[in-house]
C-alpha cells in the first residue's frame, strides 16, 4: 500500500511570506507520528494543505496517493486547533451531522466517550466551557474510523487528566492501517506514544527519525533533543 501522506517539494507562500518551503516527507501507514516545531514553524500549514483548506504554491501533497479533495476527505479525520463547531447545536445534533456526512463515523463510540467524560448529549455547545468543547471535538474526530488522523495541538489547552485521556483514546483507536499525525510543541507528554518524529522549523523539515533511534543514538529524550535543536 502506498504511503498515507506524501509531500513532494511542497511549498506554500502567503504573499511574500514563505510558510512551507520545499518539504519532502513520506509517512507510512500504521504509525503515530509527531510533527514537532515551535509556533509558526509551518505545522498547521502543512495540515491545512492536507485538508484542502489551503492550496500549494508549488509542489504537491498526496493522501493515499491522491490529491486532497472529496475522496481524501472521506478518509481523513481532522482536529483543528480552534473550536469550529456550530454554537447553536446540541451535542447529539453534531453527532448526527457527522453520521450523515461521514460513512466511517461510529456514533456508538462517540456516545460512549461522552458518557465517560460526563458530557450530556443534550447540552448546547454554546453553554459549554472551552475545554469541554475541545473534548467534544476530539471525541468526534476519534469516533471516525479514518485512515489518517490529523490532530493539530490536541493537548494544548487541556488539563493533565484530560491530556492522559486523550492520549489513551489515541492509543485505543490505533490500528495498523491508520496513521495518526500529532502536531504539537508539548513533546514530553506525548513522546512515549510516538513512533516517529518530524522536526519542523521555518517551514522546512529539520529532522526525521524514529523515537527509539533518537534515544539510542543521542542518549536523550525527544523533548531534550527538541530543546537543543530549537534553542532560541
Amino acid at each position: 500500500m502506498s504511503a498515507i501522506l506524501e509531500c513532494n517539494d511542497l511549498t506554500k507562500k502567503f504573499g511574500s511570506n514563505v510558510a512551507v518551503s520545499a518539504v519532502n516527507l513520506k509517512i507510512e501507514r500504521g504509525q503515530i507520528v509527531g510533527l514537532l516545531g515551535p509556533n509558526g514553524s509551518g505545522k498547521s500549514t502543512i495540515i491545512k494543505l492536507a485538508n484542502e483548506l489551503l492550496t500549494p504554491t508549488r509542489g504537491s501533497i498526496l493522501i493515499g496517493g491522491k490529491k486532497p479533495g472529496t475522496e481524501t476527505k472521506k478518509i481523513v479525520s481532522y482536529l483543528p486547533e480552534k473550536t469550529y463547531l456550530n454554537d447553536w447545536m446540541r451535542v447529539h445534533q453534531i453527532i448526527e451531522l457527522f453520521s450523515d456526512f461521514y460513512e466511517d463515523f461510529k456514533p456508538e463510540k462517540a456516545y460512549d466517550m461522552l458518557k465517560i467524560l460526563n458530557i450530556n448529549p443534550n447540552d448546547r455547545l454554546k453553554t459549554m466551557s472551552k475545554g469541554t468543547k475541545e473534548k467534544v471535538q476530539l471525541i468526534l474526530v476519534m469516533s471516525r474510523e479514518a485512515e489518517l488522523y490529523l490532530l493539530d495541538e490536541p493537548i494544548g489547552g487541556v488539563d493533565p487528566a484530560a491530556r492522559d485521556y486523550i492520549l489513551q483514546t489515541i492509543l485505543r483507536n490505533y490500528n495498523e492501517n491508520a496513521t495518526v499525525i500529532i502536531s504539537t510543541h508539548l513533546i514530553s507528554d506525548i513522546e512515549n506514544i510516538l513512533d516517529y518524529v518530524v522536526f519542523i522549523n521555518h517551514g522546512q523539515v529539520v529532522l526525521t527519525s524514529s523515537v527509539d533511534d533518537i534515544r539510542d543514538e543521542k542518549g536523550k529524550s525527544v523533548d531534550a533533543l527538541f530543546r537543543e535543536v530549537f534553542k532560541c
Binding site: 483548506l53 472529496t70 481532522y78 447553536w88
Partner: protein, 265 residues
C-alpha cells in the same frame, strides 16, 4: 449530499425564521383584535401593537438579508469553515444549498408578510370580493392574450426567481473576492461588489444597444400592446438569459475561490 446540506441549512436558519413568522402573524392577529374591539378606547395599545408588528415586519426582511450573508460568510469562511469545508462535499454544493435556502426564506417572508397584511385588513366579504376580482382579471387577461398568458406568467416567475438568485450570488461572489485579501476583507468585499455591479451594468447597457443596431425599425407603442406581446416575451426571455448568465458567472467565481484559492486563518 446536497439534500443533507439543505437539511442542515434549513435547521440552522429555520430556528430564526419560524419564530419570526410566528411573531409576525401573532402581532398581526393581536393588532387586528385590538382594532376590532374598539378603536377609541384602545388607541394606545393598538398603536403599540401596530408598531411592534411593523418592527417585526421590518426586522424579518432585514433578517433575511443578514442571514443570507452571515450563513455564507460565517459558516464557510470563518471558524465554522474548518468543519464545513473538510466535509467530503464539493464546494458548489455548499454554495447551492445556501443559495436555495436563502431564496426560500426570502419568498416565504414575502408570503408571510402578505398573509399578515390580510390578517389585519381583511373585512368580511373581502375574500369573496378578492376571489371574484382575481377571476375577472384572469378572464380579461385571457381574452387579451390567449394561451400565451401562461407562457408570460411562467416567464415572469422565472424572471423574478433568477433575479433573486443573481442578487444573492453577486453578494456571495463579492464576499468570496474579499476573502482573497489578507487584510481589510470587508472593504475588499464592498469594493468587489461595486466592481461587479458596475461591470454587469455596463454589460447590460451594451447588450441593450444590440437590438437598436440590428432592428432599427421597431417602434414600441403602448397602444399596440397585443402586437407587442411577442416582442415583450423576447425581451423578458432575453433578460432571463442575461441574468442567468450573470448568475452562472458569479457562481463560477465563488466556486473557483472556494475550491482553489481558499485561505482559512
Amino acid at each position: 449530499m446536497l439534500s443533507k446540506l439543505l437539511k442542515y441549512e434549513l435547521k440552522a436558519t429555520g430556528r430564526i425564521f419560524l419564530p419570526l413568522f410566528l411573531a409576525l402573524l401573532m402581532f398581526a392577529g393581536i393588532t387586528r383584535l385590538i382594532y376590532s374591539i374598539g378603536p377609541e378606547k384602545w388607541d394606545a395599545p393598538a398603536s403599540i401593537s401596530m408598531a411592534i408588528y411593523i418592527i417585526i415586519m421590518v426586522g424579518m426582511f432585514v433578517m433575511t438579508f443578514i442571514m443570507m450573508i452571515q450563513r455564507f460568510y460565517k459558516n464557510l469562511l470563518s471558524d465554522e469553515g474548518y468543519l464545513m469545508l473538510t466535509l467530503p462535499v464539493k464546494p458548489w454544493k455548499h454554495i447551492l444549498s445556501k443559495l436555495l435556502v436563502s431564496m426560500l426564506w426570502m419568498v416565504t417572508s414575502g408570503i408571510a408578510a402578505l398573509i399578515s397584511i390580510l390578517i389585519i385588513t381583511l373585512e368580511k366579504g373581502d375574500i369573496t370580493k378578492i376571489v371574484v376580482g382575481l377571476l375577472t382579471v384572469y378572464d380579461q387577461v385571457y381574452e387579451q392574450l390567449g394561451a400565451s398568458m401562461y407562457l408570460l406568467s411562467v416567464e415572469i416567475i422565472i424572471g423574478v426567481l433568477i433575479s433573486l438568485a443573481s442578487g444573492i450570488l453577486i453578494l456571495y461572489a463579492s464576499i468570496a473576492l474579499g476573502h482573497l485579501f489578507s487584510k481589510h476583507r470587508m472593504l475588499a468585499s464592498f469594493g468587489a461588489f461595486i466592481a461587479l455591479s458596475t461591470l454587469s451594468q455596463i454589460l447590460f447597457t451594451l447588450i441593450g444597444l444590440i437590438p437598436e443596431a440590428y432592428f432599427p425599425d421597431i417602434h414600441i407603442s403602448s397602444n399596440d400592446f397585443i402586437g407587442m406581446q411577442h416582442l415583450i416575451q423576447w425581451v423578458i426571455a432575453g433578460g432571463i438569459i442575461f441574468t442567468g448568465l450573470l448568475s452562472a458567472a458569479y457562481f463560477a467565481i465563488t466556486n473557483f475561490i472556494l475550491s482553489k484559492r481558499l485561505n482559512l486563518e
